[in-house]
Symmetry: C2
Subunit: 208 residues, 2 copies
């Protein structure tokens, strides 16, 4: 649902008021999300306090506490804001190009502020099952939907079988990104993505 939905459906004053309130909420949420990313970049996760976020966002601390109960919760809301546009929903008509496009868009995401927030969040998930479920239902599900759409279209075009699209092969490229980004720190660039797609994923998907 976008901010304009309420207005498009109804012209009553009540609805307009609600829509304005929603727009204000939305502006404030974005200011807070930007503040979280700023504080995280400057102070790290240990320095991410409700006080610091309130100060950077120019809102009262009570405003923050009313909406978010913990800093992990706050981080998750940042990912919700950051996750609304990317990853690219590439539809080039070709599986190879779609895979490369989504993976490169993911690299951009991981290298940016929401990648940093995700990394901090993954550390917090282990002690918080509710947060883990929220992460899986939010940012992770959005990413997965973009990825699955690419594979499903290839199935529709007859490029690969449904079994291939649902196999472990479909995890290999995101898995290498995960390992290098979170654990080993090895380089992640266009040539790595293209090598994985061309020499690993495509041959296996087509022969599955």
């Amino acid at each position: 649902m976008t901010v304009g939905d309420g207005l498009a459906r109804s012209g009553t004053v009540l609805t307009r008021t609600r829509t304005s309130a929603r727009r204000l909420d939305r502006t404030r949420d974005e200011a807070i999300a930007t503040a979280v990313i700023e504080v995280l970049g400057r102070e790290g996760y240990a320095g991410l306090t409700m006080d610091a976020v309130a100060l950077a966002a120019g809102v009262g601390k009570a405003t923050i506490y009313r909406r978010w109960s913990s800093k992990a919760d706050l981080l998750l809301s940042v990912l919700d804001v950051a996750g609304e546009s990317p990853p690219v929903h590439a539809d080039t008509g070709d599986l190879r190009d779609d895979l490369v496009a989504v993976l490169l868009s993911t690299l951009d995401l991981l290298a940016g502020p929401s990648g940093r927030a995700t990394r901090s969040l993954l550390g917090a998930l282990v002690d918080d099952p509710a947060l883990a479920r929220a992460f899986q239902a939010g940012p992770l599900a959005r990413w997965d939907a973009a990825w699955t759409a690419v594979l499903d279209r290839a199935v529709d075009r007859g490029e690969i079988t449904p079994a291939a699209a649902g196999s472990v092969v479909a995890e290999l490229a995101p898995a290498v990104l995960c390992l290098r980004w979170l654990v080993t720190g090895r380089e992640l660039d266009t040539s790595v993505v293209e090598e994985i797609v061309d020499r690993v994923v495509l041959p296996l998907l087509r022969g599955w």
Copy 2:
């Protein structure tokens, strides 16, 4: 170096005294490592305080502070203790069986207390480059050595080429473990490991 090395090399009283002190240090380190894992399991990373660890280990808080400056530092030392035995250095004479053995031993590791400690640590690494370097030089390097040994022996036996052993294919199985363990939470068991080894890694390594 093991605790007995000093005694084996020299019979002087001074060396014996040093060795005893070292043995005491080692016993205390293990008690502290066990305490860290216990507190982490009970309270989570947020509840992992120097106070709680000192209490659980039955040592003075000053003892902890003298050796470790932060809880991330403490976590890393737990991984050092925990990482001394596994992963299995499998040498079955067959690449397929070696790969499966090391991966299954890694699954055991990830499912246990040092897996939990590693996950918390990965969250802390992002804000601490020194800790990140220590993680790479310690636990990660030990794991990598076990894995590389398996591939190098296959090269020596002529099963695969050096190019294959050094390629991105060598990362695929640990990458899927990483993705499922840290991010998606999908099941990780013997059948997943065997499918990845038999249908993904071995065919690609042999054809690289």
